[in-house]
């Protein structure tokens, strides 16, 4: 008995060590964000902030606030737009069993495998013709190409678990299809909808390639692009850079704690089976 307890304890120690190694870059990001700039420009950077400073955060907040706001706008826009399209689609596929659902599902699965560079170039050529370069809708649509397939997969997998009997009962009571969606399917799928919205937000939040290619100048600069320009300028203000990075990681960490149960399941749902 004692030996077994010892062995589980050893496992915990190994587990802690592995996690520490894996999360070291994150630790380093936080460490650098709190270390004074002049100490960073040393061949022997301190392993932990000896005299922590919030200068990095101050400069990040004074310079990067607009770009964070831009990212939030695009993220919320993408999440909203994706739900607007994905909820009825998942409902039609899962509960109404519309013919043609299968091929659309295949297209959505394949869409997830489409290299972003292919889309970027085509969208650039198309956007140039219709004036969507440098616009919020342009970026929201581009991000939705990733958000919608994932959302449909997550929502459909969830709606498949809602018993048909519930809908049938409502139908007998004279509820139409829109009413069934509104009164039964959406409330019951609340968790899945939250997950899909958060994932959509995160896709747009993390986007770099569309932001870099479909915008120009300083009108619309999401934080990913701001961060890239920041380091491109060979800055010495690395605690500012890392403070921005830390702030930009907050939504992801929040997401992990709030919706942890659903995320891993949600992301793998489409890839394994539904």
């Amino acid at each position: 008995m004692r030996r077994r307890r010892f062995r589980t304890l050893v496992n915990t120690v190994i587990g802690l060590f592995l996690t520490a190694v894996m999360l070291f870059p994150l630790y380093w990001m936080i460490n650098v964000s709190l270390t004074p700039s002049h100490e960073l420009l040393s061949t022997n950077p301190p392993l932990f902030p000896q005299d922590p400073t919030f200068d990095g955060y101050r400069s990040a907040l004074s310079q990067q606030l607009p770009s964070l706001a831009t990212s939030i706008t695009i993220g919320i826009g993408t999440a909203f737009f994706a739900m607007l399209i994905a909820i009825p689609a998942a409902y039609a596929m899962s509960k109404l069993r519309v013919r043609g659902s299968e091929p659309i599902m295949v297209v959505l699965l394949v869409a997830q495998l489409l290299p972003a560079v292919v889309l970027t170039m085509a969208l650039f050529a198309l956007y140039a013709r219709v004036g969507l370069i440098n616009t919020y809708p342009g970026l929201i649509f581009a991000n939705a190409t990733a958000a919608i397939p994932l959302s449909v997969i997550v929502l459909r997998a969830f709606m498949n678990r809602i018993p048909d009997e519930l809908l049938e009962a409502a139908r007998v009571d004279g509820a139409g299809k829109l009413r069934m969606l509104h009164a039964i399917v959406i409330p019951l799928s609340r968790n899945a909808i939250i997950t899909a919205s958060l994932l959509s937000f995160l896709i747009a939040w993390a986007d770099f390639i569309f932001a870099r290619s479909l915008t120009s100048g300083n009108e619309i600069v999401p934080f990913t692009l701001a961060l890239f320009r920041f380091i491109g300028a060979d800055t010495t203000n690395w605690n500012g850079v890392m403070a921005t990075a830390v702030i930009a990681s907050v939504p992801a960490i929040l997401l992990l704690t709030v919706a942890q149960r659903y995320i891993a399941g949600g992301i793998t749902a489409g890839s394994l089976k539904d």
């Binding site: 009825p88 292919v118 170039m121 050529a125 939705a144 995160l202 939040w205 850079v241 995320i263």
Partner: protein
Amino acid sequence: MTIQHQHRRVEASGPTSPARLRAAARLSTIGRVAFLLPVVAFVVIFLLVPVVRSLILSMQDWTMRSFVTGEAPFIGFDNYARVFSDPAFTRVAWQTTVFTVVSLLVQYVIGLALAIFFSRRFPLSMLLRSLMLIPWLLPIVVSATTWRWMFHQDYGVINARLFDGTDIGWLSTPELSLWSVIIANIWLGIPFNLVMLYGGLQSIPDSVYEAAAIDGAGPWRIFTSITFPLLRPVSTVTLLLGLVYTLKAFDIIWVMSRGGPVNSSHTLSTWSYQFAFETERALGVGSAVATILFFIAVVFGFFYMWTLRREARQ
């Protein structure tokens, strides 16, 4: 399901005239299709049209002038000829292979080892396993920025702590840049492999292990003749998906090294982007490279879909 069937049968034998029933059915079909229309429209406009557009683009001479005038002459396969005769092509193709294969294999091996480890029951195992997923959720630009600073020749922690202060130019030496990018990319991919393989391990029933233990099989024997074979379907899906994701990888390379120095860390993905948006604004040439990449991804993508189907049937 059953209730719905019964219901339909009742309707069919009801007193309503067949014509009215058919009309009602048609109306109901239209009503149902209406829910699917938005997604169909979106798929057509923002996925199918762009794919076709990109194929056409790869046969056009599209330059910055086209951006203004809207004119881009059709030149057939000239862009492809140019790509294949480019001195950097073989190099980039080889680097793409190395980047993909090495990332994939190492991610898989580490992910599997971690999945097996975290399948053991010990205090904090759940918490630690979910913490391991954080790198997956971070914006890649954020991770790439961090790795870039960690790899910094003069001030990076990797040189300072792991290489005794030697000033190794991880990202500035052509021989090392690809490997630096691969290391960061492996780190990015471990959580995905961990989640997939952990899920797969959970679906292997305990009784199988117990039976093997009774037969006196050691841990290695259990791994080679039970765990690994039973995990094969999940492994296949994980590797195929990982393969396509790795082929697509762009942000990590672009932020860390921009494909340089001297093309040494380009893959087809970043190389195509460079043609299209950087040096020449040659969207046509870039699209030709992207199309090559696309076809490789499609081949493995279909392989993946085929595996999914076969598994669903079993």
